[in-house]
């Protein structure tokens, strides 16, 4: 089966200042993404995520390498490719004085829609993203969450086969971020849309992406499913149990989901694959030893830790 995204040896550099030296932003990036999947590109700020996604989205030309999206070359076939893909980015920006409906109509026309077809499509998207009550509100008066919903609606105006999402939930409150994640999952599930998303939110990547890749200083340093990567690195959430009278007499290594552990004085530090899922079972095992737990501390594994492990 033809991959939805194929990139080989992608390199990109930018000149710093007018006569300054060139800064290498991407180096030898190879990637293959299957159709119908949600694939995450992770990495800290400045890792080259947006540059990479922009090259695939035809907004930037690579200096080196070749990239094909939906079987089309991102440079030579850019016009044809643009008809079949779309993009939503963090911090949605559209013309401030146009209403939600006018903005959608503007972008619909840019994709060659008009007349009844445009009206139907805009109506569908307003319904889908619950924007009907705000259809006559100008963009500048929308809340951040509504702006982001409009950005997603705009990204679907041409019924794309592949969607690029550049940090789609950055800047949103947790509730709205969760809502947007739900929409992304639904689009992938119901419409079979291939989605490539960049994020620096580990939980987001975990909940959305079947597979992820890490970028570090412009290089792709690891890729795999989240469990694969966590297992490969032996990483997980940190669960600390504080006992009143010394640690419970248990073989902590055999507790469900425990990857590693360290017992010290009245404290036991456990590395658990998913603490929120395992916590109840672990506490149940501990309680059967009659030992008294006086405090529980939980620190979920974050991108920084995995990233640190991958890159050091």
């Amino acid at each position: 089966m033809q991959p939805a995204i194929f990139a080989a040896g992608i390199g990109k550099s930018f000149r710093t200042g007018f006569f300054g030296p060139r800064k290498q932003v991407l180096q030898e990036v190879d990637l293959e993404v299957g159709p119908g999947s949600i694939f995450g590109i992770l990495g800290p700020n400045g890792a080259g995520k947006t540059t990479f996604i922009s090259i695939l989205a035809t907004l930037l030309r690579p200096d080196a390498g070749q990239a094909r999206v939906l079987g089309l070359d991102v440079v030579k076939d850019a016009d044809r490719l643009r008809e079949r893909v779309n993009l939503a980015a963090s911090g949605a920006h559209f013309l401030w004085c146009l209403t939600v409906e006018e903005n959608l109509k503007f972008y619909g026309r840019l994709y060659g829609l008009g007349g009844k077809a445009l009206a139907t499509k805009v109506g569908e998207l307003l319904d889908l993203f619950e924007l009907q009550p705000h259809r006559r509100v100008t963009f500048e008066r929308l809340s951040t969450g509504l702006k982001q919903r409009l950005a997603l609606a705009k990204a679907l105006i041409n019924t794309p086969e592949l969607l690029f999402l550049d940090e789609p939930t950055t800047g949103l409150d947790p509730e709205m971020a969760q809502h947007i994640r739900g929409e992304i999952q639904r689009l992938n599930r119901d419409a079979g849309l291939t989605i490539l998303l960049t994020t620096h939110n580990m939980r987001e990547a975990e909940s959305l992406c079947g597979e992820v890749a890490f970028l570090k200083e412009g290089r792709l340093v690891a890729r795999g499913t989240m469990p694969e990567l966590q297992e490969r690195l032996g990483l997980g959430d940190r669960l600390s149990l504080f006992f009143k009278d010394g640690p419970a007499p248990l073989d902590y290594g055999r507790l469900p989901g425990v990857l590693t552990y360290k017992a010290e004085n009245n404290r036991v530090d456990l590395m658990v694959d998913r603490a929120e899922k395992r916590l109840a079972a672990i506490l149940e095992e501990v309680s059967q030893t009659q030992s008294k737990v006086i405090q529980v501390q939980l620190k979920e594994v974050d991108l920084a830790e995995i990233y640190h492990e991958i890159t050091h």
């Binding site: 922009s54 930037l60 993009l87 013309l95 060659g112 445009l118």
Partner: protein
């Protein structure tokens, strides 16, 4: 050009320009207030100087042309500036559009607005300062208007290229370019009084010839034997060059990452 998808892409930019103009109080100022001020101030100055009717007409033609071209080129110049201000440039170029869609779409609104300004200023000139605007006839008026709009398109396309290269900093060019061109082409004075060297520059500006053509209906001598030939051929060449320049700057923007920087 394929229809109707190309038509809708053009319509997108035309509708957007029209909506922005409708909701922008400054757009009303651009079309009514400043042209009104221009015709009053220039007209009253000619009265104060007790100029003969032919000279008054000569100067009023300059005032009408200046404002018509200014307004007509603004919509084209602003077509990308709107996107730069809204930080939405990458979304526009993410769509399968061509530069021609932007130029024709926004240019059409500019043409309509320019025509409205021409009509308003022409009416004020006739009513307040007895200018006989109808003397060149419908054909003469249409040729003059076409010439002005071609010049506005050249300025607008140049500004588009600058916006794609320099972003928001090019905003000032939207005004500066037209003033520079109007200064050189003998707007309020005959080109013959320009110093040597500058006069030669005036001859490579198409508007010079269209002004000369229109003014000859009012008894002013033609400086060149075929003003329309020079005016139209220069306009076509410059438009072609400007289009190629905008294409080049877009290609360069895709290489340099300008579209992304202007969307942040």
């Amino acid at each position: 050009m394929r229809l109707p998808t190309d038509f809708y892409k053009i319509l997108a930019f035309a509708t957007r320009s029209a909506l922005v103009n409708r909701r922008n109080v400054f757009a009303i100022f651009e079309m009514l207030f400043w042209p009104g001020v221009a015709i009053f101030s220039v007209g009253l100055l000619t009265r104060f100087l007790k100029l003969d009717p032919e000279t008054v007409t000569f100067i009023l033609i300059g005032a009408v042309s200046m404002n018509t071209i200014q307004i007509a080129q603004l919509d084209l110049s602003y077509a990308l500036l709107y996107s730069v201000w809204a930080k939405s440039l990458k979304h526009e170029f993410m769509a399968p559009i061509k530069l021609a869609h932007i130029l024709v779409g926004a240019g059409t609104v500019g043409l309509i607005r320019g025509f409205v300004v021409f009509v308003i200023m022409g009416f004020l000139s006739m009513w307040l300062f007895d200018m006989d605007l109808a003397r060149p006839g419908v054909r003469g008026l249409l040729i003059f208007l076409t010439g002005m709009f071609l010049n506005a398109a050249i300025i607008g396309a140049l500004v588009l290229a600058l916006v794609l290269r320099f972003g928001q900093r090019a905003e000032v060019a939207a005004w500066a370019f037209s003033y520079l061109m109007l200064l050189l082409c003998g707007l309020y004075y005959p080109v013959s009084i320009l110093p040597l060297g500058i006069r030669e520059l005036a001859q490579i500006i198409p508007l010079t010839y269209f002004l000369e053509y229109f003014r000859h209906f009012y008894g002013f001598p033609l400086m060149s034997s075929h003003p329309l030939l020079y005016g139209f051929s220069q306009s076509v060449v410059y438009l072609g060059l400007c289009y190629a320049l905008v294409q080049y700057t877009l290609k360069s923007a895709l290489q340099r990452g300008t579209l992304l920087r202007l969307s942040e």
